[in-house]
Amino acid sequence: MTDAYIYDAVRTPRGKGKKDGSLHEITALSLATQVLENLRDRNGLDTSKVDDVILGCVSPVGEQGADIARTAVLNSGWAQTVAGVQINRFCASGLEAVNMAAAKVKSGEADFAVGGGVEAMSRVPMGSDGGAWPVDPSSAFPTYFVPQGVSADMIASKWGFSRDDVDAYAVESHKRSAKSWAEGRFNKSVVPVKDQLGLTILDHDETIRPNTDMQTLGALNPSFAMMGEMAFDAVIHQRYPEVERVNHVHTPGNSSGIVDGSAGVLIGSLEAGKALGLKPRAKIRGAASIGSEPSIMLTGPEFVANKLLGKLGMSTSDIDLWELNEAFAAVVLRFMQALDIPHDQINVCGGAIAMGHPLGATGAMITGVVLDELERSDKETALITLCIGGGMGTATVIERV
């Protein structure tokens, strides 16, 4: 089988996902288009050599509907022979897009493919696409559906993470994100978003609060207490009756931020790269996805990481850097606890608690983040993973070349 290599990764900065966010006046299509334009222009890419563009998008309705990947291909002036497909694996869509692009290259179906994603959460709110799981009693009832925040609070309750634990993790996320920006660690991959005139409208992640401390975070109200008390605590309790009470520790301060953004990763075979004079940056060692218990929902990364490492004949000690999307602080804390990973090896540049989680794009974004960091700190191997709605995990191992 052919090996798949990462040639480049770009991402937009993440804008606050509300009406007063800098990117609210920029369409989802424009975000995805600018990513593709940058990928092409900075690599001098002959786009006719690219077979497919795969974009993750979690709320593919309205302006994000009807296969936004193909629309973005056409809109960015890429060769019309480049196909486009929009996929949805909830929060891991961006990483799944990378994995699918890599799989296409590995199988020989594609020479080059782009894996990426887009989510303009300020414009197409989360949940806009409906979905049977929580709504249809046939699926909600037997799977003990609860909103993700309640799942995250159950993770904290079951494995003993206090409000102080999750807040302390969040403080560190902001610190690391701010430091990374200050040191220019993201300069390689972040491309400023341009407005309708072509002027820069945003060139940095907008939601970082470098001065965040335990006091400010401690003052925030739990986000999911009311929802939990209404009925959902009782539901997840029936699945985890060993826990006396759900401790609602997650707040807007220690959960991932709602933001707008897009990202793309250019993946191709060694030969295809050579033909275009492109230099590979990392090899995709392998990828995997897994299903996990859907009510607690967010414990998949532990299981998919073990699955993938097993497949690759690797152990946790073979991984230099871990990148786990900071959906909720307790998700990362539980992952570290389960796999015995020291905090200084995971999310070393900060994460979504500080910088935000543009659902469909995040997986591709953090792939770029950790690749840049491998190069900067001269390390070899990284494992990227995300927790996923419905109880899933997706993971990818990359290795510098």
Binding site: V135, P137, A140, F141, A234, Q238, P241, E242, R245
Partner: protein, 724 residues
């Protein structure tokens, strides 16, 4: 047609009078179901008919719903799956034909309309109801393990929206006429007796022969499942239903499925969907068990099914209650409500007055809710006399003692009360544990001495357990039953024995929680699993409610009584340590398995030091197994009670278990649980539990014999009845 009379007036309005012959109340019997399509056909095809009014010929009400006796006997589910669907569709198809017949149809609701009765009216274009506070309108099917299957899930939802309809159907609550109007269920409330007139007036005034949902511009109030606002009703609704039902009731889930799927399609398809889910639900063991126990058997017991036939009917007019604590006062209250003159006696006037104050408090609640007029309130309150004077007992038909659970005190009040009683009056002991035969030794007239065991709180708990002492006579039994029926509670009759029937079996649930604790199960796991079986509370918190020191006292008494035969229960030492060394008596002193100094109560942190937790993770399989274990422990004890002759009627055993100690209602009761599982499978599982947890799970020989012969309790019982 025997159930419907059709009179067409000069204006061409057909008055359809629903009147099932030979019954005091209209129900949807097999015969009624067969005639409804004929009624609809006549309205539709008779050119002389311009419109129709549906009303009831009964003074008792409009219609109480489906005939559950016929339903349980297989009216719909007797044949194949397709037959069952076709039978279910017969009503739904006819009602759909009625609302699309092109002629205006109005319902003149002149009495209560529940379940299928209300559904009949929902298929009419206009509903007029009489202004009578006694009239109730509602869809209570969920209470017997069903849900509305006559179009109710679709029509009520389309009338009032998903949230309001789901609340009404999942709780089974009824509406008074004005509330029903406010909720949008009926169109008009008119003076009682003018319903037909008003319904005809609507037709003559040009009433439209179209349901709102058949109008092109119709929109579901509040929105459907994928409407931005409507989605919340399903997201939260699904969670609420699981919270309430613990997933134990197929009816609850199928109701929601019928609503969810039904509101997304036109009415004809919606009704087909409802019919499918209704038939599916009706065929579940849960529905079959609940219909039998919670409706049919309960009704039979309420009507005196177990009363000795040859003793003349009695009517207790004056009753004395000894002991004015919570229990005694509660009994005085239910007496007063039933129009019984009550003497409430305690050792000092202050205690007696405190008891009466409790009666007053309960009566005031009814007054404030408009369930009593001021005059009636005054009269009822005056009918309770609080005193210390035993002379007041004179003329009582019945004395009930509710004093401390202490043999000497009970013996003393028995002697003092009997001194005042006239021959034929009955003395009842409201003991929950002390054997009646022993207590009756203090009596000079043991044939009139009987156990009358109430449950707390008396005003809410619907069961009364009657206990026969060795010498109790049939006349005393009949009089005790007449009394229980007069206060409108459900009686069961059991034979004497330690803990009788209810306390003995309930005790096993609480005790099994202790065994789990000793095995290392996390306390939260134990109580949550208990609740998940469908019991109102977990075994540890129940233990706190009962009081830990009481359980130590009972254990000591039992040890004294049994001598060498006494086997301490697993985990018993934990309770002894908590009571004797740590002063933790349960809820009553704020310290038990839980700490009660804050709300909500929290598990006592020191418990894990006393008993180390080794099982702190669960899987669904483990939870199912432990749920079954808790249910089995009780069911094995019920079977033992049967073998020992404590109980001999499956209806009493099932209804008693559900009403007395909250035994998982979805099972239809412990006997139904064993019968549905089959004695053979039950014995195998019980043996497996016995091997793992101890001999207390060993099934009695009776069950092994039944397993060998393939018998059921209900089969044996009806067989024995037929033979007698």
């Amino acid at each position: 047609m025997e159930n419907f009379k059709i009179d067409v007036d000069a204006d061409g309005i057909a008055l359809v009078t629903f009147d099932v012959p030979g019954r005091s109340m209209n129900t949807l019997t097999g015969s009624v179901m067969a005639e409804i399509p004929q009624v609809v056909e006549r309205i539709k095809t008779d050119d002389a008919i311009k419109g129709a009014v549906l009303t009831s010929g009964k003074t008792s009400g409009f219609c109480a719903g489906a005939d559950l006796g016929d339903m349980a006997a297989g009216m719909l589910t007797g044949g194949s799956l397709q037959d069952a669907y076709d039978a279910g569709w017969k009503l739904n198809g006819a009602l759909r034909a009625l609302e699309t017949c092109g002629k205006p149809v109005a319902a003149a609701i002149n009495g209560l309309a529940l379940g299928g009765g209300l559904e009949l009216t929902l298929a009419c274009h206009y509903r007029v109801v009489g202004d009578n506070p006694k009239i109730q309108l509602g869809l209570p099917e969920i209470k017997v393990g069903l849900f509305p299957g006559g179009g109710g899930t679709q029509r009520l939802t389309r009338l009032v929206g998903v949230q309001a309809a789901m609340m009404a159907m999942s709780e089974g609550k009824s509406f008074r006429p004005n509330d029903a109007k406010g909720a949008g269920i009926v169109h008009e409330v008119v003076p009682a007796g003018t319903e037909v007139e008003a319904a005809k007036a609507w037709i003559k005034g040009g009433g439209k022969a179209q349901q709102p949902w058949d109008d092109k511009v119709y929109k579901l109030p509040g929105g459907g499942p994928y409407h931005p606002a409507g989605i919340q009703n399903f997201l939260v609704g699904n969670a609420m239903l699981r919270k309430q039902s613990y997933g134990n009731y197929p009816a609850v889930l199928n109701l929601m499925k019928a609503v969810y799927e039904g509101v997304q399609v036109p009415m004809d398809a919606a009704l087909r969907i409802e019919t499918r889910y209704f038939i599916k639900t009706l065929m579940t063991p849960q529905a079959q068990g609940m219909i039998r126990s919670l409706f049919l058997s309960k009704q039979e017991l309420d009507k005196g099914a177990v009363r000795p036939k040859d003793v003349p009917q009695s009517d207790p007019k004056k009753v004395t209650v000894l002991g004015a604590g919570m229990m005694g006062a509660g009994i005085a209250y239910v007496n007063a409500l039933a129009g019984i003159e009550t003497v409430l006696i305690d050792r000092d006037q202050e205690s007696a007055d405190k008891g009466k104050a409790h009666v007053e408090e309960l009566l005031k609640k009814r007054l404030s809710r408009g369930q009593l007029t001021q005059d009636k309130y005054d009269a009822l309150l005056a009918s309770v006399i609080a005193t210390t004077d035993y002379d007041h007992i004179k003329g009582s038909d019945l004395v009930i003692e509710a004093v401390f659970e202490n043999r000497e005190i009970k013996a003393d009040v028995t002697r003092r009360a009997e001194a005042q009683l006239t021959p034929g009056a009955v003395f009842g002991s409201n003991t929950s544990t002390l054997p009646i035969t022993g207590l009756a030794e203090a009596s000079v007239r043991p044939e009139d001495f009987i156990g009358i065991h109430f449950f707390s709180p008396v005003d809410k708990m619907m069961l009364v357990e009657i206990i026969m002492g060795a010498k109790t006579g049939q006349a005393a039994l009949a009089k005790a039953l007449d009394y229980v029926m007069k206060i409108k509670k459900t009686p069961i009759v059991v034979q004497d024995g330690r803990g009788f029937y209810t306390s003995r079996c309930f005790g096993t649930y609480v005790a099994e929680g202790l065994a789990m604790l000793e095995e290392g199960y996390a306390p939260a796991l134990i109580d949550n699993i208990g609740r998940m079986t469908g019991m109102p509370r977990g075994p540890l918190e129940m233990h706190d409610d009962v009081a830990l020191d009481l359980s130590v006292k009972i254990a000591k008494q039992t040890k004294e009584d049994l001598g060498d035969a006494y086997v301490p229960l697993p985990g018993w030492k934990i309770v002894q340590t908590m009571v004797e060394d740590l002063g933790r008596y349960g809820r009553k002193n704020g310290k038990g398995f839980y700490d009660y100094d804050q709300k909500p109560k929290t598990l006592w942190k020191g418990l894990s030091e006393l008993v180390p937790v080794t099982i702190n993770d669960s899987t669904p399989e483990m939870i199912e197994d432990q749920k079954r274990r808790l249910i089995f422990r009780q069911a094995v004890e019920v079977a033992r009670c049967w073998e020992e002759g404590v109980i001999d009627d499956p209806r009493e055993a099932d209804v008693g278990a559900i009403l007395a100690w909250g035994f998982a209602p979805w099972t239809g009761g412990p006997i139904t649980y064993i019968d549905q599982m089959g004695a053979k499978a039950f014995v195998e599982q019980a043996d497996a539990y016995a091997a793992k947890y101890g001999e207390r799970f060993t099934p009695p020989q009776l069950l092994r014999d039944m397993a060998a012969r393939g018998e059921t309790f209900y089969g044996r019982f009806t067989g024995a009845k037929a033979a007698a």
